[in-house]
Amino acid sequence: MSITDLTLDELRHRLAARDITAVQATEACLERIQATEPTVDALLSLQAEQALETAAALDRQGPDPAKALWGVPMAVKDALCTKGVPTTCASKILENFTPFYDATSVERLKAHGAVILGKANMDEFAMGSSTENSAFKPTRNPWNPFKVPGGSSGGSGATVAARQCFAALGTDTGGSIRLPASFCGVTGIKPTYGRVSRYGLVAYGSSLDQIGPLARTPLDCAIVLQAMAGHDPKDSTCAPRPVPDFAAETKARKDLAGLRIGMPEEYWGEGLTPEVRKACDDAMDAARSLGATLVPVKLPHTRYAIATYYIVAMAEASSNLARFDGVRYGYRHPGAKDLKDLYELSRSHGFGEEVQRRIVLGTYVLSAGYYDAYYRKAAQVRRLIRQDFLDAFAHCDVIAGPTSPFTAFGLGEKTGDPLQMYLADIFTISLNLSGLPGLSLPVGLGEDSALPVGLQLFGKAWEEGTILGAANALYGAVGDVGTPAGVA
């Protein structure tokens, strides 16, 4: 068995026992990157030398039980600031941006002894559901290189699935951790809004964005989440509340006895491909045999979720992206004659097509005369969507549904029709509007496509431990989906 076939938790134990050194683990990942990267294109930059130096320094100090990620090679989505390492957000406008500080989440991973290998590809400014909107290159699905890895954290999903690293950070604004986790056959969790500091994250939709891990197993995700969660005075939306022992909660769950799983009819009705339905139904049978009680629940405003989400997200994006003006950082067009020219030329040449589309739409829905009809209305529906979850959770402990109605789609299949691309997020976005935690767990391969199928578990606010534990029990029953066929 190769080092890169270990789970993050298994690696931790081997590192702590000094069976494997941090340098050996890092070298194994770098070799795997060399072998698989030509196929998947998961990374935008690789910091091999720095990673080896960090690993060597860790080896000299020796394993530290207080550092949960001691010697663990990881990747970070390129939307997160990394000191001295380019942070492009997969956009030409930030192509030359090298931050002089780390995002809090990255800083905490490093403090826990993680070895950062490189920056993962993504949709430009996290806008997209396929990682085809990167200004630099599309990432391909390790299970089938003609398929997308999902987006916008597709590089993070693909790098973990291809065994290039043991975990990667992603960001989830409308499902951008869970969709690539589902398409790539890995586990990904979007924490409760406010659980992880957003300081140092290039903002897309500030009331929606959350940072979370993608890794092989629920336990691996729990370990990474625990390392980076918790109050940060640099982010006023980050909650000043204690972080539970997620790893212990996750390991403690061996079965699902006593757990009530809500089954929303809106997620289990028409529209699912037969192979997704079969894999998810099988997973729910497994849940039942583990002792769970399945209860029907209703989320009646789900039908409005996509429209609500895109109005809110585009409005916030148009506001957040106003900072890219060619003055303080990023790309500046050389031909500007005056300040207005500078703004317009820099933004028009620096942003890609999807980003421009969302800025224009966001500007429109916020503009005088349309604000009430679009943005205020969407904010009202947002409250109703959130209330649906609160009502449903009065009857159950977690909610389950497919992560996506289909498995990974073909490269180029949806790029010409933005609305079709937006509809890919149908099962993920309600959770971001509500600020609740959600996790995608691979529950098998589709019978027709041989591609991974993801099952989502939603939790109450601050109860990440409950969904991680439930996912861990299910993972034990359903089993691992194995090594991706495309890079085996």
Partner: protein
């Protein structure tokens, strides 16, 4: 919903984007489709519903109102496309 290239150009200008003619038509058509889809929200009864602008569940923690130097000027200016070592440099904005 119909959205004209002229409308698209006007909104783009508000967003400080300058789009070529051939792209405006395409963008206008896409905006029309997307906004029509957004209009499904009109069917949702929101009478008396308080808007929810964010899911933060805690009070914003306050900090002491004390100025702290977080970064060095040189670090910040190092990111600028053009600076004179003290300020950001931009094209002339006053005529004459």
């Amino acid at each position: 919903m119909t959205f004209t290239p002229d409308q698209a150009a006007r909104v783009a200008a508000l967003a400080r984007l300058r789009l070529p003619e051939d792209k405006l038509e395409h963008l206008a058509a896409q905006m029309g489709d997307i906004l029509s889809y957004m209009d499904t929200l009109t069917a949702c009864d929101t009478q008396g519903v308080e808007p929810l602008y964010g899911p933060v569940e805690h009070d914003t923690p306050l900090r002491m109102d004390v100025a702290v130097k977080t970064f060095q000027r040189a670090d910040i200016l190092s990111q600028a496309p053009e600076s004179d070592g003290t300020f950001f440099v931009v094209p002339k904005i006053v005529a004459g």
